[in-house]
Point group: C2
Chain length 140, copies 2
DNA sequence: TATTTTGCGCAACTTAGTTGCATTTAATAT
DNA sequence: ATATTAAATGCAACTAAGTTGCGCAAAATA
């Protein structure tokens, strides 16, 4: 039942102290119902014609969700941002998987990035991003 | 002396069996002289007005260098491709460093990506991409 | 020097995201 | 319930980075 996701979305938005708007509820509701990270375009499609939101507004909602730590943005080489709600992954850093066939991006919630040898002298690491590319379970 | 890089470039291009053109020599020469991965735009700047190459041609040259394994493409979240010659890094996979201040992208030639736990069942890994973000030695 | 690819230049297009500004609306105060 | 106001939205126009099609130029080879 998608309704439950919208209710949950509304509650999460209320909790931020910022305004509860139609757009925010719809978009976060969609993200909550989704198991993978999805793009601006995919969200527009899921909104459909009747619940349509202006593209600029949608960008701004996604930016806001990210800022409020209700969702995170995944960057993946095809120049498209994808978003996933944080409630399933938490705020910690995790790796991502990108399928070479269907292009689906999955959050690997409990996979953390590591590397084999230290950075060059003087370099400071703030964040480590890891993307595994290959075939997802559906496409393999 | 940049001339040496152009001679080296010419030799490398000859070795592919494909045509030795002004554009290919200039671009590969620039990449050989460079210690970090650089973007289309940065290459255009280095070419300057007199050695200018049409932007489309430049894209095609970079694509060709990548295909011929003379250079590799680095993807880094700011929607810009960057390129580095392979002669200093080899063909093996390696991690990259992106400075949050100066935006420079460095190939960490001997740093390999690892991860903490296995992929979900059914997933197949073909390639692992790792980017460390933080401050480079210059900016730290 | 002529022929044959292969690569180049131009113009027009696409995709994804951004900016400025006027209008609407959620929250709140009366 | 209505007015007020700050925040969010919609629209139009813009930007950055890369792509496509096609006629023309120039390397390689004969
Ligand atoms: Mn994620
Ligand atoms: Mn590299
Ligand atoms: Zn897949
Ligand atoms: Zn730096």
């Amino acid at each position: 039942m998608l309704t439950n996701f919208y209710e949950q979305a509304e509650e999460m938005i209320r909790h931020t102290g910022d305004r509860i708007t139609r757009g925010r509820v719809l978009v976060l509701g969609i993200l909550l119902a989704e198991k993978k990270a999805i793009s601006h375009h995919e969200i527009e499609e899921k909104l459909g014609d009747d619940s349509a939101i202006n593209r600029v507004t949608l960008y701004r909602i996604l930016e806001w969700l990210n800022k409020k730590d209700l969702a995170h943005k995944v960057i993946s080489g095809d120049r498209k941002w994808r978003f996933r709600t944080n409630i399933y992954t938490g705020l910690h850093q995790h790796a991502h998987f990108k399928c070479s066939i269907c292009a689906a991006v999955t959050c690997l919630s409990d996979v953390k990035a590591k590397y084999s040898s230290p950075l060059p002298p003087g370099y400071q690491s703030h964040e480590v991003e890891l993307t595994v590319k290959g075939l997802c379970a559906e496409c393999a």
